[in-house]
Subunit: 130 residues, 2 copies
Amino acid sequence: MNKSLLIVAHGSRRAASNDEVRTVAARVAAAADGRFTRIACAFLELAPPSIPEGLTGLIAEGAEHIVVVPYFLAAGRHVTEDIPAEVARVRGAHPGIRIDIAPYLGTAHLMPELLLQMSEPAPRADPQPR
Amino acid sequence: MNKSLLIVAHGSRRAASNDEVRTVAARVAAAADGRFTRIACAFLELAPPSIPEGLTGLIAEGAEHIVVVPYFLAAGRHVTEDIPAEVARVRGAHPGIRIDIAPYLGTAHLMPELLLQMSEPAPRADPQPR
């Protein structure tokens, strides 16, 4: 079963911010250890690819199940309405493909540990986690 | 030595988003296991307390060393210019207090693992760390 992951960020007018998201997606791919066939990113606005473009790209590559992870810290309108609306459009066009929306990043169980890790003196010696 | 942590978020017109940051700060405090005397949050704009208010509040409570962690996913102007400028104002007024700015959240080593964890089916069975 081709299960793929789409990391969805807001998108920025600042190209470097969008590139940071692309880099995070590449780091997730390196850490995924076979959990997903393909890992990509998409943007709600201001940068390509859009969410429908990202989803249809994965479907064109054979995805049968796609998990969308919102790369957002708070449950604003983007998370509660805009991303689900974009995903719903693609679900309607591809009824045979399962597309799930995961909880947004800000709810991660590991977030407190992450923030404590950020607060430790650099260089942080912890190895790249799997 | 009183070492305290200030989690700095952007701030939102949406009160629930600011409350999410306050909740994250409380979760960090619960997970900190004595690494910090006090843990608080502050906002760059749109919500209280401001960064100077947050810092001076911790100083009033006895902080001698404060670590500021930017709760931001990308290195935009807020991270590179605005937060350092606010911190610099307080450093100038309190030269005896050490205030460090940690790397921003988006650079966390654990971020790929966090995103992979978000993508797993709910309910996520992993225990609250620490």
